[in-house]
Amino acid sequence: MNPERGTPVVELRKISKQFGAVQALVDVDFSAYAGEIVALVGDNGAGKSTLIRIIVGIWQPTSGEIFYSGEKHNRIDPRIASRLGIQAVHQDFGLVNTMTIERNVFLGSEPYKAGLLRVLDRKRMIEASKEVLDIIGMRSQITPSSQVATLSGGEIQAIKIGRAVYYKAKLIILDEPTNALSVRERHRVVELTQEIRDRGVGVIFISHDIHQVYGIADRILVMERGRTIGDYVKTEIDVDSLVTLIREGRTGKLNNGSS
């Protein structure tokens, strides 16, 4: 699309997803680039979650093609997505509450010393946790041995983002990262999102809060009933037109006119 930005980290071509009779996504084209925050907006049921679940391999598309850094991959799962540099930060899961930060950071790809028993490399786990806490600037407040259940919602979101950065993610998907957070923590998560963008990481940011999204996004993708109805560089659209577009959809004015 934009040659000067190089190859997109993820490119979707004509992706459709059907659940029985429900058409969740219809011929969606979408690209995400490094060092850019692209916001995904739209009402409930617009297909935002379906889209990102397909990108991270939780679901498979019914039809269409997906390219990761220019390479076509047909069937992937979250593990492969993670290896390809795609990390998703979900709003309500990602860290195991009953475990410490240190034990969560490498979950699923734990470092171990050679041997049949695969003995954990605790030293590396603790070092990595400290690095994650450094990335999000919380090293002085939280120790790697803190149990996740004792952390606040904002701290948990921040750690998930920090972990994704630590994993050298090329693209981080933030699914409603500021839901149920206090104003202060919301602000911190937004700041953190911009920090990782400035590190050259691509970000897909999903939120219901249009004003927040408009504040931080470089590009905005609007969805309605499984279709993309707009793909704007922020300077192309003002926040009021964006709100109107989401509220009324592409066909909104027509409907209003007829009723």
């Binding site: 990602g94 860290l95 195991v96 475990m99 979950l107 171990y112 695969r118 954990l120 701290e155």
Partner: protein
């Protein structure tokens, strides 16, 4: 404003958190089992006197404790992984019975032992497959297995005790399972297996993932943990441990009865709960569960020594189980809350 800042500092401040952690380091989840065991020990010592101390050195009682303990190792590991196994008592009985039947049929003890372990591994795989692929709660699947294997015990014994073939009671393996070289061998099994599985649970990749799938399987899965595979291993370990304990029992007794291991699954689960293993998964330790098993065994023997009818034991297990769950939940949420303040 100043007030808010002060509170904020207290909430996420370094010293605040460290202090509360430091305080709460004394309160471990296993505290109920540890304190309960000590208190009950003193109680029975005072009530029963020297007979009690003698009783503790009786081999058959220690063997029962060890057999329950070995079974509890597997059960605790499985509960930590977020599933249940109600079939361990029946499998305990079936494994013990099959061990004798195979040897009576002419197989060597070593062959019989290995075959029974392999059979148990298949049972674990069966329980796991139905639970994970069939999406049936493990409580129901293993309740089915409980009946199936109890039925097979009746079939195998024809309702009467069957005995170890003559001449095998001095076999090395049979002695290693149920005899005594210099200390009860069953206790050595328990000790070694507790150390091994505690290590596996706390220090290996598998252990880390077992805690993760029990605590929050969705997060674990999203991070790439093969949830079903981890749980399947846990089911298999649970079944194999129960079978091992069952063979230890028949090796020790020299016979298998239809009631071998009956309702032992409840004692194993109760031991876990009393020992601080959270029934919802993700939290607990093997050594805690073993202390729980020791406590339950002590109650059962202590009650008998005090002259209480044996059926009181079941009532007691029930009461202790409920108290255990209540204290577990209480301690857990208190620790969480404490760390937040």
């Amino acid at each position: 404003m100043a007030k808010t800042d002060a509170k904020q500092a207290f909430v996420i401040g370094e010293t605040g958190r460290r202090n509360s952690n430091w305080l709460r380091r004394f309160v471990i989840r296993e505290i109920g089992a540890v304190v309960g065991t000590i208190v009950l020990f003193l109680f029975f010592t005072v009530m029963i006197g020297s007979n009690w101390v003698n009783l503790l050195s009786i081999k058959s009682i220690l063997d029962v404790v060890a057999q329950l303990g070995v079974m509890t190792i597997g059960e605790s590991l499985l509960i930590i992984s977020g599933e249940f196994d109600l079939s361990v008592g029946s499998l305990f009985g079936f494994a013990g019975t099959l061990f004798i039947i195979l040897m009576a049929a002419g197989l060597t003890p070593v062959e019989s032992f290995l075959l029974v372990l392999a059979m148990a591994a298949l049972v674990g795989l069966f329980n796991a497959t139905l639970t994970l692929r069939g999406q049936i709660p493990s409580l129901i699947v293993t309740l089915g297995s409980l009946f199936i294997f109890r039925g097979l015990v009746y079939y195998g014994t024809s309702g009467f005790p069957i005995t170890l073939p003559a001449g095998l009671s001095h076999n090395f393996l049979v002695n290693a399972l149920g005899g005594s070289f210099w200390l009860n061998n069953s206790l050595i099994w328990l000790l070694v297996l507790t150390v091994v599985f505690s290590f596996v649970l706390t220090r290996t990749v598998f252990g880390n993932r077992a805690f993760a799938v029990g605590g929050d399987s969705r997060s674990a899965w999203a991070q790439g943990v093969p949830v079903n595979r981890i749980k399947t291993y846990a089911f298999i370990i649970s079944s194999v441990m129960a079978a091992l304990a069952g063979m230890m029992a028949t090796a020790e007794l020299g016979s298998a009865t239809t009631t071998l291991g009956e309702s032992q699954e409840l004692s194993a689960i109760a031991s876990c709960v009393v020992g601080g293993v959270l029934l919802t998964g993700g939290v607990g330790s093997i050594w805690g569960a073993i202390v729980g098993a020791a406590m339950l065994s002590m109650i059962s023997n202590g009650l008998v020594m005090m002259g209480a009818p044996p059926y009181w034991f079941i009532t007691f297990v029930g009461i202790i189980l409920i108290i255990g769950v209540l204290t577990n939940n209480g301690v857990y949420s208190w620790m969480k809350k404490g760390a937040r303040q």
